[in-house]
């Protein structure tokens, strides 16, 4: 009994390996997706680590050379006229003399506060001006023999509990999503080819007229598509391992490595998802009348796991999502990446639900292969 399943799986794999479309579908994704993610990380890191110089317009800069020097050391400079950001800083004419007398010297910040785009720049300028102001104040107190700490009744200490790895969690969440999606993309073409394609080429009726049960046929097809999905996942992980090693993580203050324990965990957690992906795709393809129809259905159906995955990685999800397929596994993997304990219970339940859905779909397929409508497209 199991021999026939092995025979069918072997045949499906030989057949698929010779089908350029099936192989390429997996390969393109496995190579393309990690590289695209890398490109995105490069851009993200560029934005996070080197804030742009802020160009503002300064009136009467020669009135306060020390302030100007302080600001420019913080990346705020008087830029070219066309590049400045509609922020005007006016140093009053009596700035120097007021400074010398130890009374408040006027500096005026002129900008449109309703302009959303300017908000960040204005806050940055204000913060730096206040820092300069308190630095000057401290110097004055010291000059008068007073401890500047009398001016700071409260000293606020902020302890950031984010570990380097947990900062990486968000970014790796995105990366994990693209990895787990590989099981859907890699097996897709094979799933269509072996179901809708098999019927289109008239070999389904021939297969069914041989002494194999529909259950055996369904199991063999699920195994084949799952294997393809898992191979795609493994390839994606291997390509990621190499590609991510080129991303300059140290500039973000943490490092992300796709190490072997992560790959192992991913393969283990990905297996139920791959089985469900195979069942879902085969089921939809068997329902479709032709190869092309199956393709267009699947594109829509594959939005579903994509949305579940997005919801999980952006943490915009209601709690129920942690029990569902794809999102449940993804949330568990993100916890694992953040260096926290793997939520075993949650992972077990969502994996069981994933397998239960697979079993239902497989049962439906096994039924549908007994239906004349499905087999002959009547």
């Amino acid at each position: 009994m199991s021999n026939k399943i092995i025979t069918m799986v072997r045949k499906e794999l030989i057949d698929a390996a010779r089908d350029k479309r099936s192989v390429m579908a997996g390969l393109y994704y496995a190579v393309g997706a990690p590289l695209l993610m890398c490109g995105m990380f490069f851009m993200l890191i560029g934005q996070l680590t080197s804030p742009e110089d802020l160009n503002i317009k300064i009136n009467n800069p020669q009135g306060a050379p020390d302030l100007i020097k302080y600001l420019s050391s913080k990346g705020i400079t008087q830029g070219d006229a066309d590049k400045n950001k509609d922020i005007l800083l006016v140093v009053s004419d009596d700035y120097a003399s007021n400074m010398a007398k130890g009374i408040s010297a006027d500096v005026t910040l002129i900008a449109d506060a309703s302009n959303e785009k300017l908000q960040k720049s204005i806050r940055r300028l204000e913060k730096n001006l206040q820092q300069y102001s308190s630095e000057m104040g401290s110097l004055r107190l010291i000059a008068r023999g007073i401890d500047p700490r009398v001016m700071q009744p409260i000293k606020l200490n902020v302890e950031d509990q984010a570990t380097p790895d947990s900062k990486a969690g968000m970014i790796l969440g995105l990366a994990t999503m693209t990895m787990i999606y590989a099981v859907f993309i890699s097996g897709m073409n094979l799933a269509i080819d072996t179901s809708a394609g098999e019927r289109e080429r008239n070999s389904l009726a021939l297969l069914l007229s041989h002494p194999v049960s529909t259950g055996q046929i369904v199991i063999a097809k699920i195994i084949s598509v799952t294997l393809f999905g898992m191979i795609g996942l493994l390839l994606t992980l291997i390509v990621s391992k190499f590609a991510y090693s080129f991303v300059p993580w140290q500039e973000l203050g943490f490092s992300v490595s796709v190490n072997s324990s992560f790959i192992g965990m991913m393969m283990l957690v990905g297996l139920p998802v791959a089985i469900m992906a195979a069942c879902l795709q085969l089921f939809v393809s068997f329902m479709a009348k032709s190869f092309k129809e199956a393709q267009s259905y699947l594109t829509i159906v594959l939005m579903l796991p994509m949305m579940l995955a997005m919801a999980a990685s952006y943490d915009i999800a209601p709690d129920t999502l942690q029990w569902l397929p794809v999102s449940g596994q993804l949330q568990a993997l993100i916890e694992f990446i953040k260096g926290r304990e793997l939520p075993g219970m949650q992972l077990a339940i969502s994996s069981l639900i994933t397998l239960a859905i697979s079993a239902l779909l497989a049962f439906g397929m096994q039924k549908s292969l007994k239906s004349e409508k499905i087999v002959f497209g009547l």
């Binding site: 026939k4 025979t7 080429r201 021939l206």
Partner: protein, 244 residues
């Protein structure tokens, strides 16, 4: 032996099979002759359990196909219409795949495949992928698949369609061989020469019913005609849909 009893099957608005009964015996070639749309393919699909009859049943060597499909199919070999080749497999892989599905072990399947390849003179194309095969090559591959596991009953759906004279002769010789070895051969056709040349028993079908049963000679005598073609026209009462 293949026996169908009181088969009825409705597909959509068409009564495809209407209380059809016949039997095809071992050691005989039985031809299912009928015009296009007579229900020949529907009948053969029902024999294989691919279609469920509304009424009646089909038995293969006494095994009811609806009740124990796997055991019944074990006794059957199908030469289907269309062929249903896997284009990316070679004939050797294709034939041995179906041999294994019929319960042969991997090494037995290999041996059986080699011998059937030799028998059908397929050696020159046996290790080439089926893509781009000619109709004759496809026919031989599909036929090899049907007989590789030596089933008692071999069912062929329109076997001579699209074949040239040489391929048709090869096919005929093989069918006669099978008959002489004691197999039950059942084939559907609408080509008179084929049926006249090969069959021990002809079942004339029209509109899902059996119109007449007998050897080609007997049918000619029954209708008082000289050729099977004329007898056939006489029997089904119209000259619609006949390919000579």
């Amino acid at each position: 032996m293949i026996q169908v009893t009181n088969l009825s099957k409705r597909i959509g608005d068409v009564q495809a099979l209407d209380d059809l009964s016949f039997s095809a015996l071992d050691g005989q070639i039985t031809g299912l002759l009928g015009p296009n749309g007579a229900g020949k393919t529907t009948c053969l699909r029902t024999v294989f359990g691919l279609l469920k009859p509304d009424n009646g049943f089909a038995e293969i060597d006494g095994i009811n196909i609806a009740k124990s499909p796997v055991a019944a199919k074990q006794q059957l070999g199908l030469f289907p219409d269309p062929f249903g080749l896997y284009e990316r497999l070679t004939p050797r892989e294709y034939i041995s795949y179906f041999a294994e599905l019929n319960g042969l072990s991997r090494s037995d399947a290999k041996h059986a495949t080699s011998s059937v390849i030799e028998k059908l003179h397929l050696a020159d194309i046996a290790d080439r992928q089926c893509k781009g095969f000619s109709q004759g090559q496809r026919m031989k591959t599909a036929l090899a698949q049907a007989i590789v596991h030596q089933p008692t009953n071999i069912v062929l759906d329109e076997p001579t369609r699209g074949l040239d004279v040489m391929s048709t002769r090869v096919l005929r010789d093989i069918l006669r061989d099978l008959k002489n070895q004691g197999h039950c051969v059942l084939f559907s056709s609408h080509v008179m020469q084929e049926v006249a040349a090969l069959c021990d028993q002809v079942i004339v079908m029209a509109e899902g019913k059996v119109v007449a049963v007998g050897s080609p000679d007997a049918l000619c005598q029954q209708t008082g005609k000289n050729s099977l073609e004329d007898a056939f026209i006489q029997l089904i009462g119209t000259d619609e849909g006949i390919a000579a």
